[in-house]
Symmetry: C2
Subunit: 546 residues, 2 copies
């Protein structure tokens, strides 16, 4: 079989998973497909309401017997089927398995009066790196199609213990190492808000799926923005926890065993409340008993409580920056950062300009780490099937670089450690100057609003944070507006890559595209940064606090 035959068979099998009654009759021709569920006639009004609810509300209603998991799972399966047909966001779809699980959970609740866990009955969508027994985890590598798993990833096991229902695994870019979602299996995933925009990547399938509300909580991974970029491009919250907070064990990945900059798991949601539900539910399963890389650190309510008085009293101290020294973001993003800073100031918080410390150095060092094996691992996987590399690939991994030698790696790792410590020192210096603790830093996560296809060129706003292993939460802010976000024609690019990014800006083409920022905190500060992000969302009017 040629690799094309393998793909054709895979697509046929994928298509067959969508029941006839959930199939699109006349695909829409509009750029945005966001209103399709309501117009399609495929979903009932109750199903629409369920999918437009919150996870927090759904688990409460299911636990109280006001909703069944079968009803909730059916609603999300239907909407996910639409999402896939409209944006091409799935690699695995298994509604039958999901409904069987939902039925079991409903029966359990009925017979025992008890839920199995805090996520009882809730459908959760997964990036196609998570292994589920009996299913494929191709990760869109043609070479991996047709291998069916004999066990689960650790996070899958723990989510099952917490009561979750799985129904879909979403699309990724070939290799995972780029921030748009395109591969040789399902092709390109598009943004549900505009088919001309990217859904982001590498957890781009999740971004499109949850953005379209084909999912309520989606789990992605992030080694260089892969949770945060699709969250930003789909007007979602997304967290890149620090390494060691959530389990990554037994997942599929490229460059498995690379530990210099770790990929991490994290949820993408419509609210911080749902994000918190996910984090607390997973941590309650004590993931450190299963994955040796997870720090034995339960949900620290004390950390959340410690920040709360500051939130309500204008007591936060927050830095912000809008240029990392490599690339100036497009006007909508500059406005996004300013909007958040203004909202905080207006609420009485202390906002100051943070001087980003040696970000260009960090970006270069991180790129060297990503390309540590000169692309050997990824290219060997491509060779195994004969599929060609996607065009975007060279933007993040430059396969013409030689392998890094062991002593060179140790030197890179020392540089990383030193850089991390210098960054901590910068924070301490500012704290000394201000006489108060710095609670968070607001920054762009990408230089663009939801980007046009093949135009994602600069990863540095994301990757510097991965190198630092800082906690980062993406908060949706606003929408690009051609009437406000005018191109600054007089601007002179500061670097070559800045020139490339600036040339891409077109106020008309980006009109309406989601604009987000990231809220950054020190390592393992998830509870605090989530609480601050929730408050920012509330100030912006984007966050529903239950």
């Amino acid at each position: 079989m040629t690799w094309e035959d393998v793909v054709a068979d895979k697509l046929k099998r994928l298509e067959a998973t969508i029941p006839q009654e959930w199939r699109l009759q006349a695909p829409p021709t509009e750029d945005s497909v966001m209103d399709y569920p309501k117009k399609s006639g495929i979903m009932t009004p109750e199903e629409i309401a369920i999918t437009e609810s919150s996870a927090t509300d759904l688990v409460a209603k299911m636990a109280a017997g006001q909703l069944t998991s079968v009803a909730v799972t059916t609603a999300f399966c239907k909407r996910a089927a639409l999402a896939h047909q409209l944006t091409n966001c799935s690699l695995e779809f298994f509604p039958e398995m999901a409904l069987a699980r939902a039925k079991e959970l409903d029966a359990h609740l009925k017979s025992t009066g008890k839920t199995v866990g805090p996520l009882h009955g809730l459908p959760i969508s997964l990036k196609d790196q998570f292994r589920i027994k009996g299913l494929e985890t191709s990760m869109a590598y043609v070479a991996w199609i047709g291998k069916f798993e004999e066990g689960n990833s650790v996070l899958v096991d723990l989510l099952l213990k917490a009561g979750a229902v799985f129904y879909v695994k979403t699309s990724v870019p070939q290799s995972l190492m780029v921030c748009e979602t395109i591969n040789n299996v399902t092709g390109r995933t598009v943004n549900p808000r505009n088919k001309n925009w990217s859904c982001g990547g590498s957890s781009g399938g999740e971004g499109a799926m949850v953005g379209f509300r084909g999912g309520i909580i989606g789990v992605g991974t992030d080694i260089g923005g892969s949770i945060r970029v699709p969250a930003a491009f789909n007007f979602l919250y997304g967290i890149r926890p620090s390494h060691g907070r959530l389990p990554y064990a037994k997942m599929a990945n490229s460059m498995v065993g690379q530990e210099t900059v770790h990929s991490v798991c994290g949820p993408m949601t419509h609210s911080v409340a749902d994000m918190r539900l996910f984090m607390k539910s997973v941590l309650a399963q004590e993931p450190w008993q299963y994955d040796s890389k997870v720090v034995p650190m339960p949900w620290r309510q004390s950390e959340e409580d410690a920040i709360k008085p500051k939130l309500s009293s204008g007591g936060l101290t927050v830095g912000y920056f809008n240029c990392d020294g490599n690339v100036l973001p497009h006007p909508p993003i500059l406005r996004g950062v300013a909007t958040v800073a203004e909202a905080l100031k207006k609420a009485g918080h202390t906002v100051f300009e943070w001087a980003p410390y040696k970000h260009p150095f960090a970006v270069d060092l991180t790129n060297k780490i990503y390309a540590g094996d000169g692309g050997t691992d990824i290219f060997n996987t491509l060779k195994a099937s004969g599929e060609p590399p996607i065009p975007n690939f060279k933007e993040l991994i430059n396969p013409s670089l030689p392998k890094v030698d062991m002593n060179e790696l140790w030197d890179v790792q020392l540089q990383k450690w030193n850089y991390q410590m210098e960054y901590l020192e910068q924070i301490r210096l500012v704290e000394k100057k201000l006489g108060r603790e710095v609670d968070a830093i607001i920054a762009p996560i990408t230089p663009t609003a939801a980007v046009r296809h093949n135009q994602f060129k600069y990863y540095g706003y994301a990757t510097a944070i991965n190198l630092l292993d800082f906690t980062s939460v993406v908060v949706p802010v606003t929408w690009a507006d051609k009437n406000i976000d005018k191109k600054n024609e007089a601007y002179k690019p500061i670097t070559e890559i800045d020139g490339v990014v600036q040339a891409e800006y077109d106020a008309e083409a980006y009109h309406g595209a989601p604009v987000a920022v990231q809220i950054i905190g020190r390592r393992l500060t998830e509870e605090r940064i989530m609480a601050i992000s929730e408050e920012i969302g509330r100030l912006l009017g984007n966050e529903i606090t239950p």
Copy 2:
């Protein structure tokens, strides 16, 4: 200058740091020098009493104004001077700097009525990897002699903030990668209890110094037993905390930047109470604000409290093993493990035989990691001065191995992760079978009691735990006894290295040598394992609980 000239100059400078009145007149001829301080006439009875007190008691008395730091520092400087002259355990000695600091602290307390921190006035000895501004950190590499530091290691800074006084930096084996202390600068450090025995290594200078009570708390490092082995050989408590609990930043080291198996810092003490004083004092300085590798995890009193009811009610569940499948320990060590198991059983605790899981695999994998660069880093440092490698070197690092390639390293790192998780699974399986939590595992730390020179051949009991990144506390148990610990002449070695180790046993030669075990817990369980170790010490009669 030849390397020998550099060494001669260094030794001259080192000797000159010992005031005339602290010099030995007639060096003792006995094998043990433990009673020398009392006989020498150099120390006053009060100084003897100070050095034979506990750190917990000393800081309390200094804080209450019942003792001055100058008195305490003088006592330890004198005894350290004796220790060095008798065992050859120092690389840097700086009593003047120490006394100046002590004077300052005394003045501060007098004028403000307040201590500067929980270690106010307490002398602490450091392995010669810690950088102190103005001093050398040669680590016994000839090439590094003559370089004076411009700044402190992070732990040095934090100990100063806590009120510590530094006065000595102790000897290490060339490269740090062996468990006896011998180098081309100061030669060999011997065991104060018997000059024919090793003090252990690589924190062997600390072992001899604290064992002799030239120090009350000594700080070492451990990548393959380097805290635990000298603790064991000198009848001390020693902790190898999990990576990320204590700061290691800005220390000198071999193979800096190697992150596959991390070296960690930890104290060596005469009691768990003193160990706890050290851990709490360092964690109170929030080391994670300075060293990015430190987990933001304060001292967790709740973890200690959680284990306490089990201690007093015979409620512990503890596994033990005495053979790892590679090497059977000598009779004194087998008796040591049995003694601890019996003491726990007698106190009503549940003790069961733990089946060590794939330790030979772990030992081989760890050796591969240590030799990841084929010895390049270490040999380049030797070449820089022309000094030859010490003979013991090849036992831990085999320089004939080729450098590990990047993809091979990733594979090794994946194997490590999988092994760690399989080990966790073994613990869960046993817990399921027993129906209760496993609190700790008792194991040998070396196959021998304090070893005869050049006979340290097997590192596996230590290194498997480094690979797992488990918390481990060494507890002193008893002394080898020629009348009990008879050689088993009928024993057939299970491996080649076992044969080598067995051949070394000689009941006569080891008579009286310190015997210890390690108490092992999962990653980042310092509070619990220390509490359990304290209870074991109490049951054995070796631990003074204040």
